[in-house]
Symmetry: C2
Subunit: 191 residues, 2 copies
């Protein structure tokens, strides 16, 4: 998909792709920029330990870009599944029961996807702090933009987790997921 | 350019495209999402005045997506021009003078582009607040993601303005641009 097609799809009145997809793509731009910074010739002042921590950050960040673009696609699919479940027939008691079960399963899927996006962004922010601190300072503004995009992506993913949680009935899943979301957001904000 | 190609280009060790381009694309995703929200069937509770303000916001936001993608391309070109100017010969006094003049002109271009990105994002955030308040509440998380991405884009653009300002010698341009950046960032933060 071209960037122009993505933007047109986001702008169209169809509900998908929406904010969850945009957040994941923004996160992927953040991880890509951080990988760029780790690939620049290092300052001569980097210690061996700093060089090793940058190499470790790069190895962790590289697969996260692909992970986040996969999650961008999965977000659209999971929301389409929720809308399909709501459109199921509800004429008989049996149909009503089956529809409720389908909606709950689809909403759980639509909660898990942004939760995974949030986890990936929080993970990237942890590595991103090391890149911003020890990476080539001529790319300081690139690292800064990356951290800003990843934080916005994490907050957007968390908002999507919470909106879908409100429709779920499994109270133990709801409270555990809400607690994890709070914890990950707090870690993301401490950059 | 496909999304995958953009991410690969951001991740490559070439300095461009960098944070300025990523910030502008994130801003364009924000304006696209806001356009989507204004295109959803309105709540029956919207007053005529609210409907008119949403239509006005949509008309203002639609051209900003294209504006921001143009600025994403221009950011790369303006930074390439700075690097080309630094590579000019500096063996003679004449060459040194010409090189200094070229560097100053290129740095000014590389300051103006993120300044325009910052202006576009601040403008979009003003309209975005109206969309978040009066737009269809079923898309509240989409509007929230949009405002978050536009804020991160504005902050990233401002960082790029300021980094390029440090190399400029025209003190009156520097102080006027720094003051405008502070004012736009403050407007962006008040969302």
């Amino acid at each position: 998909m071209t960037v122009a097609q993505l933007l047109a799809a986001l702008a169209s009145p169809d509900p998908t792709p929406g904010g969850g997809t945009a957040a994941a793509i923004a996160g992927a731009m953040g991880t890509s920029l951080l990988v760029m910074v780790t690939g620049l010739a290092k300052s001569r002042t980097n210690t061996d330990e700093e060089k090793a921590s940058l190499a470790k950050a790069r190895a962790a960040l590289e697969p996260l870009t692909r992970r986040l673009t996969d999650l961008a696609d999965a977000d659209t699919q999971s929301f389409d599944a929720v809308m399909a479940a709501y459109r199921l027939p509800k004429a008989t008691d049996e149909e009503k029961t089956a529809r409720t079960r389908s909606i709950q399963a689809a909403l759980r899927g639509a909660t898990e996807i942004p939760l995974q996006t949030l986890r990936a962004c929080a993970d990237a922010l942890g590595h991103g702090r090391i890149v911003a601190e020890h990476g080539n300072q001529s790319a300081a503004s690139d690292a800064g933009v990356a951290l800003g995009l990843l934080t916005a992506a994490a907050e957007g993913a968390a908002a999507n987790v919470r909106i879908n949680l409100t429709g779920l009935k499994d109270e133990s899943y709801k409270s555990a997921t809400d607690a994890e979301t709070t914890r990950l957001l707090s870690a993301a904000a401490s950059r």
